[in-house]
């Protein structure tokens, strides 16, 4: 319209930029912007927690019997003599360089510890949520389609057990039965004792590292160790996911477009999966993202029972020994995961719901 007086070569380029590239670019910029702002808020909170905690970071390093000179030296090294705002800026600078300080417990950089424990949790949580999705979603749909029948009742019972059984009890009984008596699965730990550190750590995910190395023995051992804890976490996700799927699905099944699909002569299977299910994807993503984020935070009890060196037990141990650098570092990582999962589910909304564009 307004572009008519431009030369012919310029127009398509410019139109392409305005129609296609610019909207995408705008989305990318605003997404990065919102991540940055949320992250800044998170860092502000962790920074404040670090300051108001009644734990003297200098004393934690030098010990109680250090001289005043030693104390002052460390005080200055930590930058505690500077104004608070400058300290905050330094803190942001450090975090941007993945520097969360030194753990007072083992005198190693916190970032190295997190790089070691987080993949363990990631591996466990990912397999757990996959188990939760592939069992929970069909179970919920099945319950909704057969509402009020014995199938619905069984689905309800399965979820109820998942909700109400304490995980430490299920974990211990699981270990007793499947590891102790039947010997079907590996025991506590990520991998059998003979296979520890056999494959080089590339990703930190033992299953992936074993595959990359082509070492099937390690893979089998790691798999047999992860099956039980991941199934337990999966079962807990199943309880929540299946109940939510059922209620989302019931809402859709009473919608008019479902009747339209039946009037067309469509089979019940296709009515459910091709029409109704497509409409619950957006809501399901929220539920799954929340469950997954919960698992990535580290399930402390599961990690302790299965001697799983994950981020949940890491943060808990650090907290109990007043290792604030480790606690805050872990908190920042967990917070970042929540933010990223939120952004990811927002992006998936836009793919699955044409009205969200």
């Amino acid at each position: 319209m307004a572009l008519t007086n431009e030369s012919n070569e310029e127009r398509p380029m410019r139109a392409l930029f305005i129609d296609r590239i610019w909207p995408t670019l705008k989305v990318v910029i605003s997404t990065i912007g919102s991540i940055a702002v949320t992250m800044l808020g998170l860092l502000f909170i962790t920074f404040i927690i670090g300051r108001v905690m009644p734990i003297d970071p200098v004393l934690a390093i030098v010990g109680e019997r250090a001289s005043q000179a030693q104390y002052d030296e460390v005080y200055q090294q930590l930058g505690l003599d500077r104004p608070v705002i400058v300290q905050f800026l330094f803190y942001i600078w450090d975090v941007l360089h993945l520097d969360f300080g030194i753990s007072v417990l083992n005198a190693r950089p916190v970032s190295e510890d997190i790089a070691r424990v987080f993949p363990a949790t990631l591996e466990l949580a990912t397999i757990g949520i996959i188990i939760g999705i592939v069992t929970g979603v069909p179970l919920g749909v099945l319950a909704a389609v057969n509402k009020g029948t014995w199938i619905d009742q069984i689905a309800r019972l399965v979820a109820l057990i998942g909700y109400s059984m304490p995980i430490f009890w299920l974990g211990l009984i699981g270990l007793l039965v499947f590891y102790g008596i039947l010997g079907w699965v590996g025991g506590p730990g990520r991998v059998g004792i003979f296979y520890v550190d056999v494959v080089p750590s590339v990703t930190g995910l033992i299953l992936v590292d074993a595959l990359l190395d082509g070492n099937w023995d390690v893979f089998k051992s790691a798999f047999s160790h992860i099956v039980l804890p991941a199934s337990l976490l999966g079962y807990y996700s199943l309880a929540y996911i299946s109940r939510m799927t059922r209620s989302f699905m019931l809402e859709q099944l009473s919608a008019e477009y479902v009747t339209t699909a039946r009037v067309k002569g469509m089979s019940e299977w296709n009515v459910v999966w091709k029409h109704a299910f497509k409409n619950i994807r957006v809501q399901l993503i929220t539920v799954i993202a929340l469950s997954y984020a919960g698992l990535l935070e580290g399930s402390v009890l599961t990690e302790i029972i299965f001697s799983w060196p994950g981020i949940g037990s890491y943060i808990t141990t650090a907290l109990l020994s007043a290792d604030m650098n480790a606690v805050l570092g872990g908190t920042v990582v967990v917070g970042l995961i929540f933010i990223l999962l939120n952004v990811l589910s927002d992006m998936l909304y836009k793919i699955f719901d044409p009205r969200a564009k």
């Binding site: 919608a255 008019e256 477009y257 009747t259 339209t260 699909a261 039946r262 009037v263 067309k264 002569g265 469509m266 089979s267 029409h275 497509k278 409409n279 994807r281 699955f352 719901d353 044409p354 009205r355």
Partner: protein, 285 residues
């Protein structure tokens, strides 16, 4: 007149803890290549009658009848799988509000193509071409764009024309229109009706037109069944609707405001409990 559909003694029952609720009670009628109106107030069982013919009453509802014959074959003896070949291909239905009756997350094109390919083993390209033709037949000007669009991008009138196109694409013999214009603006109601009428006539179809709008039905249909409390209380020629005899029909007509007979107060319908006790009038020819 040739009979397409023959319904005898149709009941729709909903068992509950308080006892059985009868939504439709012994309705009988036949449908030829005509426009048959069913009118009545909310809850009179008119929509249930339409859905019962397609056997789409949801559990725990039960459909009972002496027979529901389509071209002499009783639909009640068919299996669910055989019924699926009837739905869409032989009897189809347009519902009230296109905002709800179209799937919001699927493109309009994929929904129309799906309706066609469920009953015709056509290639995707053929189905696409056929869908474009069908959209043109319901006076949609830019069918290519509409095929790519989603339902929320359409206006109500357009949405209902799309519904009509989608429901007529497998070439059914009978169309049940369940309050097809109630959710539309008055200005587009007539347009949608005209399009539906034209297509139904061209194809020699039978139309069951369910509505609560007496004037619209009197204007648009050939014959009218008046339903009350699950029963047919009166059957008449549509152009003679204003001379109806039954006190319920009379009451409905009197409660309508009229431009040529202004009155200060509209009459309120006085219900007689006896109406819901008297047996259904047969709408058979």
């Amino acid at each position: 007149m040739e009979t397409l559909l023959d319904v005898e003694n149709l009941w729709v029952k909903f068992p509950s803890r308080q006892g059985v609720f009868d939504a439709v009670r012994g309705v009988s009628f036949t449908l030829g290549r005509e426009r048959l109106g069913i009118v009545g107030e909310s809850g009179s069982g008119k929509s249930m009658t339409g859905r019962a013919i397609l056997r789409l009453i949801r559990k725990p509802g039960i459909v009972e009848a002496d027979h529901i014959k389509l071209d002499g074959v009783d639909l009640l003896t068919k299996t669910e799988k055989e019924m699926r070949a009837v739905r869409g291909q032989r009897i189809s239905m347009v519902m009230q509000d296109p905002k709800f009756s179209l799937n919001p997350v699927m493109t309009i094109g994929s929904q129309i193509i799906e309706a066609y390919r469920l009953h015709n083993s056509a290639s995707k390209a053929d189905a696409y071409r056929k869908s474009l033709e069908m959209l043109e037949a319901v006076s949609i000007n830019d069918p290519e764009r509409v095929m790519r669009a989603y339902p929320h991008e359409m206006s109500g009138g357009m949405g209902q024309r799309i519904m009509i196109a989608m429901m007529l694409i497998p070439n059914p013999e009978i169309l049940i229109a369940d309050e097809p214009t109630s959710a539309l603006d008055v200005s587009v109601q007539r347009q949608v009706l005209d399009i539906m009428d034209k297509l139904v006539k061209e194809r020699g179809m039978g139309l069951i037109f369910i509505s609560h709008d007496l004037n619209l039905v009197a204007d648009f249909c050939d014959r009218v069944l008046i339903m009350y409390a699950g029963r047919v209380v009166e059957v008449c020629e549509a152009d003679k609707l204003h001379d109806a005899k039954h006190p319920y029909t009379r009451g409905l007509l009197n409660s309508l405001p009229r431009l040529d007979q202004p009155s200060k107060r509209l009459e309120v319908l006085q219900r007689d409990p006896e109406w819901s006790q008297t047996p259904s009038v047969s709408g058979r020819i």
